[in-house]
Amino acid sequence: MTEHAGWFAGLDPEDTEDGADRVRDGAAESPADWPALAVDEGFAADESEYYGRLHEATTAAARAGVHERERADDKQLIHAVRAMDDCERTANELAERVAEWAGTRFDDAATGVEYARELSARTEAPADPSEARLVALAERTAALADEADELRSYVEETTPSVAPNLAAMAGPVLAARLISLSGGLDSLAKQPSSTVQVLGAEDALFAHLRGSAPSPKHGVIFTHEYVRGTRPEKRGSAARALAGKLTIAARVDHYSGERKPDLDAELDERIATVRGNGGGEGASDDGAAANDGGDDS
């Protein structure tokens, strides 16, 4: 009976859920006098009733849309990146145990997760019960390493939707680590950049605050090419520049959520200046000794 593409076309007026779905998924080429059409078609008795239903449908649609988008949110990401680290660390630990044990039984025993994978893939029947246990342990180790890889892919896929600018600038895994270390994107967005610079270097920072060590120049951001790839005497400046831009990226991601490619360009330029001979403008000596000031990440 209806020819137009209004969100209420053919809808049961009492069914808010269907109405919300229509608001979310529907489309039309051009607007029309929907309130009048709705009244004509008996979707609502009058305009006031129409607007009441529209209010219900649009708020339900927006709420569902927000909920859905935020389900891929920063808290989920924090669990994922921590689980990834747990799996990697545990797999490495178990791989050491496997290597120790295997060394007593096989001449070709090697070390590392790779060897555990090899051993777990053995097809020969175990010679005795203790070899059966060893191979089973290798299987567990390999499975944990696999899960670590799966978690890493998940983090790489998810971080850009949670924090697009931070992920683009830091790389998804480092971005997730920064979010994890500060407890959430909202709290990361509220940190001063001097804190972001040393996130993950808390031991060294507190040693410094106690007066027994030089100030750390970088925390987990050391893994970023812009810090690691800068010569040691300029790393403090590079870390400070990177932390500054990462902080801005986190704030944009939290408060607006829009992608701003300009930020990346600004950082590239800043790092080029820092790396340039003589330090360039603004790249002052940060006073820390040139040796590694307590990076424990």
Binding site: G6, R22, V23, A27, P31, H55, A62, E70, S256, D262
Partner: protein
């Protein structure tokens, strides 16, 4: 100085005259009875009214608000306007926009991309006013893409943010380009820089061609 729309008044808050509308407080703004102060430093439309731009608003209009964000300005608009459609694409601010819409039966939040009007044309009726405050590149394009929603004698109230288009260019050049692009769909009636309330923003009042 043009008249303020019905429902917007200058009232004294802690000794100083400020714009105000009547409605539920939304973002911790000062209140006086049922009136709440409208801060032009946080709202481009508020700044346009404060600067005396001829917005053509009289109160009770149907409004399409593009870039409603967390509803700071949209809540004030819904206080004095009629049906107000608030389009915002970022999920996080829409959570706050929902709080503004809760007590306002005439504020309809839409989690949609203002660059894709076809995704909300099945909900939004033709309107008297488009208020636009989107902080993305291509702001003039958004305005022209949404011109189809505006009634013949309607008004576009646009805040162009120079820094969203290109941070490195002179804002004056950015504004000139934006106004040029608007010409395809609108006749520009008035422009004014929104200083001192907002740096590098141009307030534009236009009507469809």
């Amino acid at each position: 100085m043009s008249d303020l729309p019905a429902g917007v008044e200058r009232r004294a808050f802690e000794g100083s005259e400020r714009l105000a509308t009547r409605g539920e407080p939304h973002y911790g703004e000062p209140t006086d009875g049922e009136w709440r102060a409208w801060n032009p430093d946080r709202s481009k439309l508020g700044a346009m009214l404060e600067l005396g731009m001829d917005t053509g608003l009289s109160g009770g209009e149907t409004v399409l608000y593009l870039g409603a964000a967390s509803g700071t300005t949209a809540s004030h608009v819904a206080d004095f306007a009629g049906p107000t459609y608030g389009v915002e694409f970022a999920a996080r601010p829409v959570r706050d926009l929902l709080d503004a819409a809760e007590p306002r039966g005439n504020l309809f939040p839409l989690l949609k991309d203002a660059r894709k009007p076809e995704t909300y044309a099945h909900v939004v009726e033709p309107v008297d006013v488009i208020v636009q405050d989107v902080a993305t590149r291509g702001q003039a394009k958004v305005a022209t893409a949404n011109a189809e929603f505006l009634r013949e004698d309607g008004r576009l109230l646009l805040a162009v943010k120079a820094r969203s288009e290109d941070v490195t260019r002179d804002p004056a050049d950015v504004f000139e380009d934006a106004l040029d692009e608007l010409e395809s769909a609108y006749e520009v009636l008035e422009t004014e820089r929104l200083t001192p309330y907002h740096d590098d923003h141009l307030g534009v009042v236009a009507t469809p061609r």
